[in-house]
């Protein structure tokens, strides 16, 4: 028998790979099931208890989210605002449109922790050490990290120096360099971060070994999972000079200082989310503590309405932290290796994928084939390897 029939069959319906977006969506569903499905080795009774516990946890979480929203509602008037000139921000509204929120972690401004991070005189103006764009498009939440060592504009300058005169410079740079229109701006003072971690009773991270950073002051005893308090957590996510003990030698564990740190930050935020959900699900009062610690540390653009803040809180607390699609803008080192520039055309493709409108849950068969959409890249960060809760 010839294979002409098989050849025709293969030719008639050629293979085409799924888009990155479809892959990312499927992976998110799979990861969500890691926590939703009870252990299969256990008996049915256990499974049922887990199912009941899961329902109870959902209800508790809903109560907690409600408590958080009420707490936010009562305190929202105390959130500091910064005026951003007309035309700098896009018009997207949280809850109505897909929005891009520029989130910036900034140095403590009052020198409340000078031993660890220097006094304002030493560190100069506040710097944006951590920058990412959070995209909220219906239930889909993505985060695109921007390395602080990225050189932008002509003449070139470090992107975090565009922040020296306030958010406008940074928002303009994000639009000019990345082509992302920022709809809202949120700045989190590191002090608030420390307090929020403490309010959760610490957050667990996975350490590559016995580790230290003599500049940020971090010391970790050994490899594996470690629960960090707020100050340690800040040292961990800000460390650019992490060293790990190998044998009797301290060796450089972040050869790509900025990018390694971003990866730690992405992992950390996921763990933070998992921890926050577990903690406030158990103890709605803790939710109010978290809100109390973060609210004074926030500065938001003056156009962000109270309804939008509440919508943002709901989205963040209701999302599955493991479904967060965290990515980093593709970059490449400059010739001297000291800084980073955008890696084109990969960076432009990543931005297009980041901005793509989330596909509906059940795409119509007769709709456009999924391959014509640019698609979000596969998340770069695995879920935290340490058990939480």
């Amino acid at each position: 028998m010839s294979d002409l029939d098989l050849d025709l069959l293969r030719e008639w319906s050629p293979a085409s790979s799924p888009s990155d977006g479809v892959r990312a969506e499927a992976l998110a569903q799979l990861r969500a099931s890691y926590t939703a499905v009870p252990g299969t080795r256990r008996g049915r009774g256990f499974g049922r208890r887990v199912a009941i516990a899961a329902v109870a946890a959902t209800v508790l979480l809903a109560i907690a989210v409600f408590a958080i929203q009420r707490a936010v509602d009562e305190r929202v008037d105390r959130v500091k605002t910064v005026a951003v000139p007309n035309g700098v921000l896009g018009g997207g509204e949280i809850g109505k449109d897909p929005v891009n929120i520029l989130v910036v972690g900034s140095d403590a401004r009052d020198g409340s922790n000078p031993e660890a991070f220097g006094t304002p005189a030493e560190t100069g103006r506040p710097k944006s050490d951590t920058m990412f764009v959070l995209r909220i498009d219906g239930p889909s939440v993505r985060a695109l990290w921007i390395p602080r060592d990225l050189v932008v504009g002509t003449p070139g300058r470090l992107i975090n120096s565009t922040f020296n005169d306030g958010p406008k410079g940074l928002i303009d740079a994000v639009r000019a360099e990345l082509g992302i229109t920022v709809d809202h701006y949120v700045e989190v003072d590191f002090r608030g971060f420390v307090k929020a971690v403490d309010a959760l009773g610490g957050v667990t991270i996975s350490s590559p070994g016995r580790a230290r950073d003599s500049i940020s002051g971090l010391v970790l005893d050994g490899p594996g999972c470690a629960r960090l308090d707020g100050t340690e957590a800040l040292q961990w996510v800000r460390s650019r000079h992490l060293e790990v003990l190998r044998g009797s030698e301290w060796t450089d564990a972040s050869p790509h200082a900025d990018l390694d740190r971003i990866q730690r930050q992405q992992e950390f935020f996921r763990s933070f989310g998992v921890r926050a959900k577990a903690k406030i699900g158990d103890d709605p009062a803790a939710a109010v503590d978290v809100v109390d610690s973060i609210i004074p540390a926030l500065t938001v653009d003056s156009r962000l309405s109270k309804a939008e803040i509440l919508g943002l809180v709901r989205t963040v607390f209701e999302m599955d932290p493991n479904a967060l699609q965290a990515m980093t803008i593709p970059v490449t080192p400059t010739a001297d290796g000291a800084h980073l520039v955008l890696d084109q055309p990969a960076a432009a493709k990543a931005v297009a994928a980041f901005l793509v409108v989330a596909p509906p849950r059940h795409a119509d068969v007769t709709g456009p084939p999924s391959t014509t959409r640019p698609a979000p890249p596969t998340p770069t960060v695995p879920p935290p390897p340490c058990p939480e809760g």
Binding site: M1, E11, A15, S16, L30, V365, T371
Partner: protein, 189 residues
Amino acid sequence: MGSAGGDHDGRVIAASIAEPDRFTEIFERHFDAIHTYAARRLGPGPADDVGATVFVEAFSGRARFDTDRPDARPWLYGIATNLVRRHRRAESRRLRAYARSEPARDGEPIDIAPRLDAEAMGPRLAASLSALADRDRDALLLFAWAGLSYDDIATATDVPVGTVRSRIHRARQQLRADLEITDAVRSME
């Protein structure tokens, strides 16, 4: 089918019992192939659904996987095949739509290369596939589109390999009759 430098599928799945995150490796190794197969059978929309569901179901049933097996593909394609069955109405709608899409050139034997002819033969191919028994169609398409061996198809569909052989043979005979393919034609190329 262990990927370079990694454990084979069975060992990864065994490890994923205690560490669910490890299952992501299985997804990364095989998602594209499974999705591609589902898309060929059902079209892109339902394939997104089936592709994602295969791995969620595989994950929840991972304790039943024989972890001595180095290759998870037959198992995953088996799950996919069951899910495709649930979409059988979508599949037959799709095939019937293709079958109607343009008049088949009745009576003309195939005398040019498949590349040129697959499109022209599309409606007849679709009509023929749609008329096959489900089990025969599953076996044929696991062979032709998923590229599984007879042994793998036997594992995927949980039947003896002899049954697979006869299902594929029957399906191909039918297809060739419907397409009026003869080996004489082949020899003239």
